[in-house]
């Protein structure tokens, strides 16, 4: 080891996000040679908790695995229980589930891009994106009564219907937010500061992305055409028209552009849900709980969320296991950060849209 090569601790707090994760960086001068990651600071043993609660109570628990992907967890959990119970949900509920999921996706992607502007030192852009995101936060609060955990999903469908007045409100808010999001996309794609800081940074070649099994915008930013909404369609997605967004730059900028372009696909999906949603009931009753095992996966804002359940005929699950998107994306940081400078670590880290509370459960 040369005199210029040393190990540098970074974290566990405030490395891009206010969640604890600890890095051991091997650096040569300013350049990163190797990355080692230590997590576990907020491990909560939630899977063990889930096995002490009945199937219905676990909807509330799983919604608290993560904040930005909260809806994806209760959604996928409800799906896995429905698969185990062979419970078909009403048609209207499928559309309502997609609507809530896409509203959350817009808010999540805008949050991540805002943080990127914050890390890059572009404070006014950070504040602007967060202000635009407030439009979606208002939608969440108005429609679901909550700004973060929507509590919309339940086993057998959704808890609350959305009436004509609320649909008109959602459509109006989409008309307001869409041009503002277009402006944000243009800034991220043309502003000199943002391009200098993000383009060509944190390269993850497609071969490495595939080998590491990365998911979500991280995979799609490296040219992989992977999206559970397309690969294993669920809820109302098979009936809706939207595009799979892929970028091939393999860098931080590509991952950002995937997220920003996906905002417009989400708007398209919400509009279609508002227009095409059939009338009818929004939930069905749970039947007898059989001895069974089932699997379900969905596309959360950060990528694929997977749930596995074993039921034993009682109201408590014999086993409930889930895997979050961040879990698959952390290891890719070792590839992305090699050759980067220390000052770029936070930007690269943010580009995987990491969630520590998700990862550690």
């Amino acid at each position: 080891m040369s005199i210029a090569t040393y190990t540098m601790p970074l974290g566990p707090v405030h490395v891009a996000l206010e969640e604890p994760v600890y890095f051991n960086l091997t650096v040569d001068g300013e350049n990163i040679k190797n990355v080692e990651l230590t997590s576990g600071h907020v491990h909560r043993g939630m899977e063990q908790l889930a096995m002490q609660r009945n199937l219905v109570k676990n909807v509330t628990l799983t919604e608290r695995v993560c904040s930005l992907c909260s809806n994806s967890h209760s959604f996928t959990y409800s799906m896995v229980v429905e698969n185990a119970l062979q419970l078909e949900i009403p048609e209207r509920a499928k559309y309502l589930r997609v609507m809530a999921e896409e509203i959350k996706r817009i808010a999540s992607h805008l949050f991540n891009t805002a943080i990127q502007a914050h890390i890059a030192g572009f404070k006014s852009l950070f504040m602007h994106v967060m202000e635009v995101r407030e439009i979606m936060q208002d939608v969440k609060e108005t429609v679901y009564g909550n700004r973060m955990n929507l509590a919309s999903n339940c086993i057998g469908g959704v808890k609350c219907d959305v009436d004509a007045e609320l649909i008109a409100y959602i459509l109006k808010q989409l008309d307001v937010i869409e041009p503002q999001m277009r402006e944000i996309l243009d800034i991220f794609d043309s502003n000199h500061i943002m391009l200098t800081r993000t383009k060509g940074l944190g390269i993850l070649p497609p071969e490495e992305a595939e080998a590491l099994g990365v998911v979500g915008p991280v995979a799609r930013g490296s040219g992989l055409r992977k999206d559970v909404r397309f690969d294993s369609p669920y809820a109302a997605y098979p009936n809706l028209d939207f595009d799979l967004i892929v970028e091939d730059g393999c860098c931080v900028h590509s991952r950002t552009m995937v997220r920003l372009r996906e905002l417009f696909e989400s708007v398209k999906l919400i509009r279609q849900c508002c227009e095409q949603m059939p009338e009818g009931p929004v939930r069905t009753h749970m039947g007898k709980i059989p001895v069974n095992e089932a699997f379900a996966h969905t596309e959360a804002p950060r990528g694929e969320v997977a749930y596995y359940i074993r039921t034993n005929g009682t109201e408590l699950p014999a086993r409930l296991k889930w895997r979050v998107p961040s879990y698959m994306n952390w290891k890719a940081l070792g590839v992305m950060m090699k050759g980067c400078q220390i000052a770029e670590v936070a930007l690269v880290l943010n580009s995987i849209d990491p969630c520590v509370s998700c990862t550690e459960r």
Partner: protein
């Protein structure tokens, strides 16, 4: 539910050959027509062969679920490996028991199995062989392995046992400094 389950026939045949009999294989769909194939492998060493076959089909490992069950006073551990091939999910279960107490690592074939295997080693005390980096993932090395096998009621956790130990350590430190 649909009668025809999506999937790759050659892959299904190859994985079926690793099971002890037809009754160890199931094919299911959800209400959207997505296919799920379930295989219970003959023994835990078969997962290595299955991983090689799946790699040939460019499978992606989604996750590994560890499961612990008590059968006739004996703890039986099971592992369910979930793989994705072109949107179809292949679930492979292996049992870890007295006859087959270990499971080989599939990290050499699927790099993203690394964290899953390390997690099941520390939380379920699953014995994994040939793992390239078998250190703890979440929990500190000083904690016992198999934490997820234990349910510690909050009343016991907060009955002062831990705080007594804490104060003893503090006092010990104070005596040393004095």
């Amino acid at each position: 539910m649909q009668d025809i389950v999506k999937g790759h026939p050659r892959l299904i045949d190859a994985l079926s050959a690793l099971c002890a009999g037809e009754e160890q294989i199931r094919h299911t769909t959800d209400f959207y027509g997505n296919g799920y194939h379930w295989f219970k492998l003959e023994n835990s060493s078969r997962i290595k062969d299955a991983a090689k076959i799946l790699k040939g089909f460019r499978a992606r490992l989604i996750m590994i679920s560890a499961y612990e069950d008590k059968q006739l006073e004996q703890i039986v551990k099971e592992l369910c490996y979930h793989f994705d091939v072109e949107g179809v999910v292949y679930n492979l279960t292996v049992t870890q028991n007295a006859e087959w107490p270990i499971v080989p690592s599939i990290t050499p074939d699927f790099a993203n199995a690394d964290w899953h295997e390390r997690e099941m080693m520390e939380l379920y005390q699953i014995k994994v062989t040939d793992h390239p980096n078998p250190k703890r993932l979440f929990l500190d090395e000083t904690l016992d392995a198999g934490q997820l096998s234990k349910a510690i009621p909050l009343s016991i956790m907060m009955n002062g046992a831990s705080s007594k130990d804490l104060w003893e350590r503090i006092l010990e430190g104070k005596e040393h400094s004095a």
